[in-house]
Structure formats: structure tokens, C-alpha cells
């Protein structure tokens, strides 16, 4: 897509197609000859892995929807029927439910990769923004999906999250009622959540298309964070990155398979194998692990409306990162100070996640976790709104290499290649 197309239709049929719908040209230019920096490391394979995850979720999801019954009285039993009586239903369901966790695992690695190597910086701002949009859509889809088995956590999770909207002044309760389609989470809610859970993945697929399109204009960033300067800096996507992505994808699928076949309920909550009961509240309502940091932020704030604003703001902040980072250097490899704060931020995210998983009044080493979560929330905001803009101005970056080829192949080899 960037630069000149090198596609050369050979047969008459290919020429005929090329003049009408140049799909083979598109595939040739984006997946075959596309010039890709030669120094991409393992963390750059997660884009391909995420595409795989999306396809797996859609395929297993379509099969599950053939057997699932979106009805408050029947949903729970229909899921159990899938697990017991549908041919390989247990396999489809465990791939799908654990697939969500694997999807988020991959997306978090992908996002932290982008953060570390400055992949959101000009001219890749839109790639990042589209990525955050995908992440937001993923959270919505995962939330709707978690409600569908209609277990206790499904029901109470849905109740807690939809109730957040009631914090909005004046119109809050009306919005909540409108979302539920009822005066509480019930059959109407389940049905619309099922509809949206089926719809959103296809919207995600569309935004993924834009994300990849936007990527193919400037091309990949790379661990050095410097621009591609000559053809020596790149290799064609195929076979170099097709084979590399395939290898790491295979390793990822091994981890996926270990979870699906040997620990299929590892990420789940036992309470979700108890049918939804509006009259019995579970002792601790815990969302899925990938939403825990936000849940910790929400709970750390005593005022409901302010809590919702802080939680929402944490995600809105992500959209603004391209402009909050003032550094001219992309990669943290050459940003000694930012590198330390990056790792501090990663640790804080894990700590927030841990706080979100514990009960509200829990304490560790005598410290109430609600205060740990408050400090974590403050650091989260400070990282993006203070540390990121300031460090970009005060930090002295290390010297950047002259080119990717020189960095990878050494001076002599790079010169010889030219």
C-alpha cells in the first residue's frame, strides 16, 4: 500500500481480475512483498497472534450460538448442555471462554510493546488510536459474553457494571433502565447482550482492518524506533515474517492448549457454575482478570460518580498518549529514564489488578488494599499526564544508531550490502 506496487499479474485470468477487483494485488503488496524492518523481535509477533485470536473467537462463537439459548430461564442449562451433550461442545466452549483470556493476554503484551517502543508516536498516532478503540470494543464484547452463561458472576457482574451508568446525574437511572430493558438485569438484558455480543466482534474485525491499513501506510515501527532509510533496513514480509509469526504463534497456541485441555476453569470463577439468582448476592463480585485494574480504580474511590469518571478517564487517557509523550525518541531502548518508569507502570498495573481481585476491606502487611489501589490509581494518571510529558523534555536520550541495517548487521556488512 505504501510505495509502488510490485504486483505483476502473469496469467490472463490474473490480469482480468486485477483490472476489476485487485484483491490479489492487495494481498501481494500487504502480505508478500511488504517491506518490513529486519529487526522486529518476538514482541512484534503478537499482531498476527491477535488476528488468530479474533478468528478463533468468531469461529467457536458462531458454533456456540447454534446451541446456546438466550433466555434467562434456559441459558444456564443450555451452556451445560453444550458442555455435556453437544459433540465437542466442551471443546468449543472451553476454547471460547479461555480464548477471551488468551486474547486479552496477547492484547496487553501488544499494547505494552507499543508503549515501550513508542509505536504510537508520529506518524503512527492513528494506528494507536484505532488499537485503543479495538481494546475498548474487546472489553465490551468480553463483558457481554461473560453475562451469557447466566451464572452468579454473570448476573452480578452485569448488575454492577450497568449500575455504573446510574451514577450519571439526573438521567443515570433512566439510562440504566434503558440499558436493562427492564427495571433490573433480566431476560431482556440477556437477550440484548447476546445480540451485541454477536455484533461487536464483526465491528472489531472492521476496525482491525483499518488498524492494519493504517499500519501499512508508514510501515512497522521497530525496536530501535528509527525510520526505515534504505531497502537494506527491511526484508519482504514473506517469507521472513510469515515464518517467524507462524513459529511464535505455534508457541502461543501451545500455552493456549495447555489451558484449554488441562486447566479450563483456571481463569473462571466457581460461582459462575451456580445459576444466576437475583436474591442471593455472592460474597465477592469479581470481574474477569483482564478488567481487574479498572475495577480496583473504581472501588478505590468512595464517591460512585467520581469513581466512574476516574475509571473511564483511565481508558480515555490511552487515546491521548501520542500527544502526552513529548519525546522525540520513540524507543525506550534509548530512553534510560523512561525505561524505568515504563517498568514501574507495568508493575503498578499488576498491583492494581491484584487489588481488584481482593475483597474491598482486605489488607496486606497491615496496609488496607484500598489505599494501595488509590496510590496505584494516582500513579497511573501521573505516569501519563505528568511523567510522560515531563520526561520527554528533560531526558537525554542515548545516541541512536545510524540505520537498522547498521545496527543489525554491523558497519561492514551494512556497507557491503549497499
Amino acid at each position: 500500500m505504501s510505495g509502488q506496487s510490485t504486483y505483476n499479474p502473469k496469467s490472463g485470468f490474473e490480469k482480468w481480475i486485477d483490472q476489476r477487483l485487485p484483491l490479489p494485488r492487495l494481498m501481494h503488496d500487504t502480505m508478500q512483498t511488504f517491506p518490513t524492518p529486519r529487526n522486529l523481535n518476538i514482541w512484534y509477533t503478537f499482531g498476527g497472534i491477535l488476528t488468530f485470536c479474533l478468528v478463533v473467537q468468531i469461529v467457536t462463537g458462531v458454533v456456540l450460538a447454534m446451541h446456546y439459548v438466550a433466555n434467562a430461564g434456559m441459558a444456564f442449562d443450555s451452556v451445560e448442555r453444550i458442555m455435556r451433550d453437544v459433540n465437542y461442545g466442551w471443546l468449543m466452549r472451553f476454547i471460547h471462554s479461555n480464548g477471551a483470556s488468551m486474547f486479552f493476554l496477547a492484547v496487553y503484551i501488544h499494547m505494552f510493546r507499543g508503549l515501550y517502543y513508542g509505536s504510537y508516536k508520529a506518524p503512527r498516532e492513528l494506528i494507536w488510536i484505532l488499537g485503543v478503540l479495538i481494546y475498548l470494543l474487546m472489553m465490551a464484547t468480553a463483558f457481554f459474553g461473560y453475562v451469557l452463561p447466566w451464572g452468579q458472576m454473570s448476573f452480578w457482574g452485569a448488575t454492577v457494571i450497568t449500575n455504573l451508568f446510574s451514577a450519571i446525574p439526573l438521567v443515570g437511572t433512566h439510562i440504566a433502565t434503558w440499558l436493562w430493558g427492564d427495571f433490573a438485569v433480566g431476560d431482556a438484558t440477556l437477550n440484548r447482550f447476546f445480540s451485541l455480543h454477536y455484533l461487536l466482534p464483526f465491528i472489531i474485525a472492521g476496525v482491525v482492518g483499518l488498524h492494519i491499513w493504517a499500519l501499512h501506510v508508514p510501515g512497522n515501527n521497530n525496536p530501535l524506533g528509527i525510520d526505515v532509510k534504505s531497502p537494506q533496513d527491511t526484508v519482504p514480509f514473506h517469507p521472513y515474517y510469515t515464518v517467524k509469526d507462524a513459529f511464535y504463534l505455534c508457541l502461543f497456541v501451545i500455552v493456549f492448549a495447555v489451558v484449554v485441555f488441562y486447566a479450563p476453569n483456571f481463569f473462571g470463577n466457581p460461582d459462575n457454575y451456580i445459576q444466576a439468582n437475583p436474591l442471593v448476592t455472592p460474597t465477592d463480585i469479581v470481574p474477569e482478570w483482564y478488567l481487574l485494574p479498572y475495577y480496583a480504580m473504581l472501588r478505590s474511590i468512595p464517591n460512585k460518580l467520581f469513581g466512574v469518571i476516574v475509571m473511564g478517564g483511565a481508558i480515555v487517557t490511552l487515546f491521548l498518549i501520542p500527544w502526552l509523550d513529548t519525546s522525540r525518541v520513540r524507543s525506550c531502548r534509548f530512553r534510560p529514564l523512561m525505561k524505568q518508569f515504563f517498568w514501574a507502570f507495568a508493575v503498578v498495573c499488576v498491583i492494581l489488578g491484584y487489588c481488584g481481585a481482593q475483597s474491598v476491606d482486605a489488607a496486606r502487611f497491615g496496609i488496607p488494599l484500598v489505599w494501595v489501589a488509590r496510590l496505584g490509581t494516582i500513579f497511573y494518571y501521573a505516569f501519563f499526564w505528568l511523567i510522560m510529558p515531563i520526561i520527554g523534555l528533560v531526558e537525554t536520550p542515548k545516541k541512536l544508531p545510524a540505520s537498522i541495517a547498521q545496527s543489525v548487521l554491523g558497519d561492514s556488512a551494512a556497507a557491503a550490502a549497499e
Binding site: 451445560e80 515464518v243 501451545i254
Partner: protein
């Protein structure tokens, strides 16, 4: 501030009522007993003998109050299950009565108003002990005996939890802990007050394979049976997982060789 209030308020009331010991006892359930089960680990399978004995315990003891909604009689002869033959499963089913379809006159009640029944078949599910929740509660001092077909995967600790509850009666409550009327002391249950009376005793069943029916044995067997009821595809899952992972390892090896070959001259 709120936390301090939360502790201070009940404490203050407790002191006022002069029952300070009440506040001192932490009735969080004890950690589950770490007994071994044959189905643990990546290659673990259900012990057929334990499944059949466990089924006997369910049938003769638990089923008086607890339903097993998701299990059909045909499941007793399924691969990876208790290993009954189809004929045995049929015979077991025939011992149960289920509501009959309307007869030739379109009636479902006999002259005395009693619901017509028929013998169960392989296709039928285990009939519940009570017709509805209200009946179940009325017969159990207001408590609802949970369905057991998913109980192992619906409790933290799984089979160990079931085993611990079943063997956790008969202890003496610590000083200061009062057992609520109509409840029983069981420290493996959250709050330590459980509505279920001790269900097992030595020799409450007679195993046909000669296994001595101690409480621990009965509990261990029925926990195994309920683990299967919760996860009847476990053996198939682990078997398939083994082949899948071997396949993926070989594929990774091939892909790694291809990766090295392609990139040999590129860096």
C-alpha cells in the same frame, strides 16, 4: 475511617451486650483437606471402582435430599464415566419412577389424584427428590439442598471441598462458638453452621466390592462421583490435549527449523 467504624461498631455493641467472645471467633471456613484423587494431574483418570461406589453413596444417601439434574441414566454407561454397561444403566433407570406422559384418556392423575408415573429409561434424567424449591425447603428446616451435578466445579476447592465438608462433622465446637438451632457444626463450611445433618456414618452403605465403608471412604468415593458429574468429559479432554500438544510441539520444531533456514542470511 469506614473500616474502623465497621470493626468498632459491632465490637461496641458486643461489649454492650456483654458477649465479647462472639466477636472473637473467626468463622471463615478452614482450608480444604488435601487428600489425593486419582483424577488429579495431567494424566489422572477417574477410578471406576470409586465412581461406582460413589454412585451407590449418592443413590442411597445423598439423593434423599439432593438432586442431580444434569445427569441422565444413559450417562452412567458413557465413556469416561462410572463404567456401567448399558444393561446395568437400564436396570438402574428402571428402579426410578418418573412422571408419565398423559394416558389414552389424556389423564396424568389416577382416580385418587396421584400423579401417574412410569419406570425411567436411559433417556431420562435423575428425578429430583422434591417437586419444587418450596417442598425442598419445607423438608429441610428452611434450607435448600443444592443440586449436586455441578457442585464440584461450583465450589472453591472442588472435590477437596466436598470431601472436607462430608468428613468435617463430629468435631467439638471451640469454646465461645454456639451452634445455631437446627444447624450443625462444620468448620469447613463458611460460617461453620451448616444446615445439612452429618450425612455419612461408618457402614451407612454396604459396598459390593468388599471395600470397607468408613466415613472417609464413602466421602472420598462420592466426591469422585460428583467430580465426574461436574466434568464428565475430563478423560476425553486430557487424552485429546495430549495428542494436540504433541502435534503442536512437532509443528513448532518444523516451524523453528524453517524460521532458522529462512533467516540464516538475514541477520
Amino acid at each position: 475511617m469506614r473500616n474502623t467504624m465497621r470493626i468498632a461498631l459491632p465490637l461496641g455493641i458486643g461489649l454492650l451486650l456483654a458477649v465479647p467472645a462472639m466477636a472473637a471467633i473467626d468463622t471463615t471456613r478452614l482450608p480444604v483437606k488435601d487428600v489425593d484423587f486419582s483424577f488429579e494431574g495431567p494424566f489422572g483418570t477417574y477410578d471406576r471402582g470409586a465412581l461406582q461406589r460413589g454412585f451407590q453413596v449418592y443413590k442411597e444417601v445423598c439423593s434423599a435430599c439432593h438432586s442431580l439434574d444434569h445427569i441422565a441414566f444413559r450417562n452412567l454407561a458413557d465413556d469416561g464415566g462410572p463404567g456401567f454397561t448399558e444393561a446395568q444403566a437400564k436396570a438402574i433407570a428402571a428402579g426410578y419412577k418418573v412422571p408419565a406422559d398423559p394416558n389414552d384418556q389424556g389423564e396424568i392423575f389416577d382416580d385418587k389424584g396421584v400423579r401417574l408415573t412410569r419406570a425411567a429409561t436411559l433417556a431420562d434424567y435423575f428425578p429430583p427428590p422434591f417437586p419444587n424449591e418450596q417442598a425442598a425447603r419445607a423438608n429441610n428446616s428452611g434450607a435448600l439442598p443444592p443440586d449436586l451435578s455441578m457442585v464440584v466445579k461450583a465450589r472453591e476447592g472442588g472435590p477437596h471441598y466436598v470431601y472436607s465438608i462430608l468428613t468435617g462433622f463430629h468435631g467439638t465446637p471451640p469454646a465461645g462458638f454456639t451452634v445455631t438451632p437446627n444447624k450443625y457444626y462444620n468448620p469447613y463450611f463458611e460460617g461453620w453452621n451448616i444446615s445439612m445433618p452429618p450425612p455419612l456414618s461408618d457402614d451407612s452403605v454396604t459396598f459390593s466390592d468388599g471395600t470397607k465403608a468408613t466415613i472417609a471412604q464413602e466421602a472420598h468415593d462420592v466426591a469422585t462421583f460428583l467430580a465426574w458429574a461436574s466434568d464428565p468429559k475430563m478423560e476425553e479432554r486430557k487424552r485429546m490435549g495430549f495428542s494436540v500438544i504433541i502435534f503442536l510441539l512437532v509443528l513448532s520444531g518444523i516451524l523453528f527449523a524453517a524460521y532458522r533456514k529462512v533467516w540464516k542470511d538475514a541477520h
